[in-house]
Structure formats: structure tokens, C-alpha cells
Amino acid sequence: MTDTAMEISGVTRNDRFTRGSKLADMLSKAGLGFAILAVVLYGSFVSPAFFTAGNLLNVLTSMSIVGIVVVGMTFVLVAGGLADLSVPATIACGAILSLGLQPMIGPVPAFVLAVGLAGLIGLLNGVLVGYIGINPIIATLGVGTISLGIVQAAVGGVIVYGSNPASAEFAKGRLFGIPVVVLIFLAIALVGHFLLSRSFWGRWTLATGGNYSAAEASAVPVKAVKAGAFVITALASGISGGLLGLTLQSARPLIGAGYEFSAITAVVVGGVSIIGGFGSVPRAIAGLIFVQLLTNVMVLNGVRTPIQGFVLGALIVGAVGVDAALRKRGGA
């Protein structure tokens, strides 16, 4: 059944690579690899601090927090859900609640509850986008504004501090010399990858994003798939926010600001199509590695923060432009 859906969507949609042979696919994958290599080489030449274990470990740790969100955001983009702009709210929900509820119910239940509530925000997004058919950007912008307001109201609009040193130790700790946060990210990325590329859910997600009507006609539960993508993103952001809160031991309402852009940039730069129907978790993570290394090199070279935002924005425009150009060549 799903195979039929894939076939139909493969014919009808302007897939970038069905027309463009294996070579184009190879090039598009290798291109990002070369880009990463170029940044690494450039970084090592320009700054002696770049290619050191300490710095790379730092990059890896900060990458992991965004990376967890990126895994979820990949599902949203592939399913044709454009983007989830409620990420700052779900991260804040995860961070504020997992710290704020610690004194009352203990660290582990607090974390679980925080992630669960973030998932609930995602469910709201999913219902609005998938079932009611509202523009995803508008829906997530609105839901994000509402939920962030509610979370702020719940804690009185102040900064929340951690009260459980043991959980902080765990989040900042290492297992076999690798930071726990990185391990959690890798685990989530693996699960996400297999879910998207090997499971029926992943095939449904690709079919829904590739050709909505064809997928619907092939009995793919398109509405649930679309809604599910937002739930997955919200759960991921909740976990990411909880980990961020535990690592920093403090959470302000705006803790998640900017993470939505970092995640979208990574996914789009990784070559996941903004229109849906094409992409994978490893691609998105390759995009993330590229963006993070680039940012790191800029920081080490003393490039000011605004310029980094400028570069991120330019990267999104460039990647989206390339996506559009590739589609055009694929035969519109």
C-alpha cells in the first residue's frame, strides 16, 4: 500500500533527484561533506584553538542541544509542515518546568512532566495544522506565543533556578568520556533516523510531504502524520529544553529564543526540502555540523554575534534558493 503511494508521489511530485540521476544525489551529499571539510581546514589554519579536543567537545555539546530539536524539525519539514516556530516556547516549557517542579515532585518526574507538557503543545500544533488545516507558520507562531505566556504566568515571569545538584551532575557528567548530553542526542538521532528511513511511519511522512493528495488516496493517514511531526518536534524540544535547564541550572522564559532558527537553518542547509517530501535525519545533522562549525570558527575569530545572525539568515536564503533551483531543473 505504501509502496504504491511512494510510486505515485515519485511520478507526480517534482522530486529533485528522481529525474536528476544518481550523480546529482551523490554530488548533493558530497557537497556538504566538502563544505564541512573546508570549514575544518579553514578553522585549523586560522585559529590554533579550533582543532583541539576541548574546543571540538564544546562544539559537540552545544550542537547536541540544538541537534535534538533538529531531529524533530526534520520530520516537520519532510511531512510538508514548513516549520515549527513554537520551539522557543516548548524549550522554555521543558527548561522552566523541569527545574521549577523539582522541589515538589523530584527531578525525574519533573523532567518527564515537562517533556509531556511540551508534547501537549505539539499536539495542539498538530491538530491545528494537520486536522484543521491552518497554515503551520501562523498556527505555531500563535500557539508558541500563547504557551510561552502561560509558562511565564505559571512561574510569575521570573527566572527559575535548579534545586537538585544530583540531576545537574548527571546532565553535566560524562559516560565513557563522552558528555551525557551528546549521548542522549546520538540516541535520539538514531531513533529518529530509523523512524524516518526504515519504518512505515517514515514512509508515510515522506509520502505525505511529497504528494498530499496521492498519499491520502493511498490510505495514508495524512492528517495524523502531519500532526505527529509536530508532536515529535515538541517532544524533542521539550527534552532539549529540560537538558538545557539542567545543564545551566537556571531557566529564563526566553531561554529557547533563536533555537527555532538554528534548527531550521541546519535542516534546510542539510538539503531537506522546505516544501516537503524529501530529506533524512543524517542530512539534517550534516547541515547542523556545518552550521555549528562555521559559527564556532566565527566565534574563535572574534566575529560579532549580529554578523553570525546575518550569516545564518543568508545561509537559509541560499539553501532555499538552491532547493528551488534544483527543483526547477528537475523539470517543473
Partner: protein, 331 residues
Amino acid sequence: MRFLALISQHRVAIILGLTLIISSLVVPGYLATSTLSLGLDRAATIGLIAIGLTVLLIAGQIDLSGGAVFALAGIVSVILQREIDVLPAAIVGILVGTLAGAINGLLVAGLKVNSLVLTLATMLIFRSLAHWITNSQPVTGTDIMLSLAFAQVFLEIFTVRSALFIVLIVLLHFWLTRTVPGRNVFAVGSNPVAAKDSGIASDRILFLGFVFAGTLAGLAGVLQSLVTNTGSPVFGSELTVAVIAAVVVGGTRLEGGKGSALGTLGGVLTIGSLTIAMEFQSIPAYVQQVVSGLILILLVVLDRAVTTKGRAPGTRPALVRDNPITQGGNV
């Protein structure tokens, strides 16, 4: 068509009326002209950006970078006051908005990319520029007395800003309803392919729509900076949701092809009076955010529930659909 338009106009009036009645019951002295004048002045900022967004939404596009352009234009106009006179500085500030809109328009019409994602990216870029120019610090203008001139109330209720807003929105109403280019915007928004086949230069209309929206965001930003004598890189970051909410309350559809200037006027007045009412009751900013978010979501859902007929449920949003490249002939 006319019937639906009538309903949506009534909807705005009903919502605005309810807001005013409830506010006047809860907030003492709400219906005094001084309060209303203040509310109108505050609404004018949202309103000027909303004017541009109305045109874009009717054409089936959106601009999320308005808040950032607002900040950038204001900053430029304030910084330039040290070099040149206030008036030329203000004009340059507005032109910065025009330029930003032209960039958006060129990228959307030229690259054929989704305007939501593109303006999200340019929003990041314009906001970064604002931080870059100012070193992330607020900047102040040279002439403090100018603020007073702008705060002057005439004819009991108008300030310069609110009068300008009212004049512009009335002009927009006539442009949209009585002129050929205005009608063409609706054609492009409801069916870009058909519009193109009928000889309408869709791309040019889209481009000019973005230029128009950018210019108005710039105008709003410059006025805000002149009134407060300050330019700040964080100005306008909370405006996006409020502006979209105002336009949607006014009955303009996010899917394109439907909307009116008078509806936007009603929507802006509703959001403005609501804001003033909440501020008078000292309701914290985050609760106000919840309210404007709720209004936005509820009305979009309502729109969806009322008008799904004729459109298969779950069809892709028009912002994706009416991009000729992504559409692949399956509408």
C-alpha cells in the same frame, strides 16, 4: 461573494463593538476621548504595518520581516539625525524600509521561494543588521522637542500618526476596490496561474506588494523612533503576532484572494483598544501575549470552519500552493 464580504465586515464590527463595550464596563473612564486618542495612537503603529500586510495577504503572500524592518528603519532615521536634518533622515529611514521590501520581493518573485520561509530568513538578517549598526544599544535622536510635536492631539482625537494611518487606510480601500491594479491583486491571490494567463504580471505585482509592505513597515518604524526619540534593535519583535492578528480579525484570509482595507481598520482598532484596556488594568505583558495569540488562533480556526467549502480539507496552504514551481499542476 458580496454576501460573504458583508458577513466578514459585520464580524469585524461585532468583535470591535464587544471589545469596546466590555472594556468600558471593566476600565473606568475608558470611553473618554483622551483614552481613545491614546489607543488610536498606539494602534497606528500596528496599523501602518497591517496596511502593507493586507495587500500582501490578499496577493497570497506574507511578510514576517515587518518587525525587523520597523526597528532597522527607525534606527537609521535616528542615527542619521547627527549628520543631516530630521526630515531627510526620516526619508532615508523610510527608504531603508522600501529597500528591505524590494529585497524580499526580488527573492520571492525571482527565486520563486516560499515567502514565509524567505521572510523568516530576511527577518533574521534585518534584525542582525539592526544589532550590528547599533552595537545592540539603543540610540537617541538629537531633537527631544520633536516627540512633543508628534504627541500633539488635534481635532480632539487625532495625532499625526493616527491621522496618517486613517488617511492611508481609506486610500487603500479605494485603491483595492476601485482601481484595476487593486483588483489585480485579488486575482493574483486567488489564482496566480489564471491571473497570469489573463495577462496580469503576477511577478511584478508580488514584487511591488513586498516593496509596499516594506515601505510601510519603514514608515511605522521611523514614526515610532521620532515619537520616542529612540531607535532600538529590539523594537518591533512582538509586533508580528499582533499585526497578523489585526489583519486576520479584519477578515483577510491567509490563503489569499480575500480581504479588505476597512476590515483591517476594524481589526487594528480591536487590537488597539484591547491593548489599551489591558494596559490600563496593568495586566502583565505575557498575559497580553496569550490574549493576542488566542485571538489569532481562534479567528483563523473560525475562518477555516466557515469557509472550507470549495476547498478540499487539508489542502496545502496557498502560500505553498500558489508557488508555480512547487505546485506541479495539482491544485
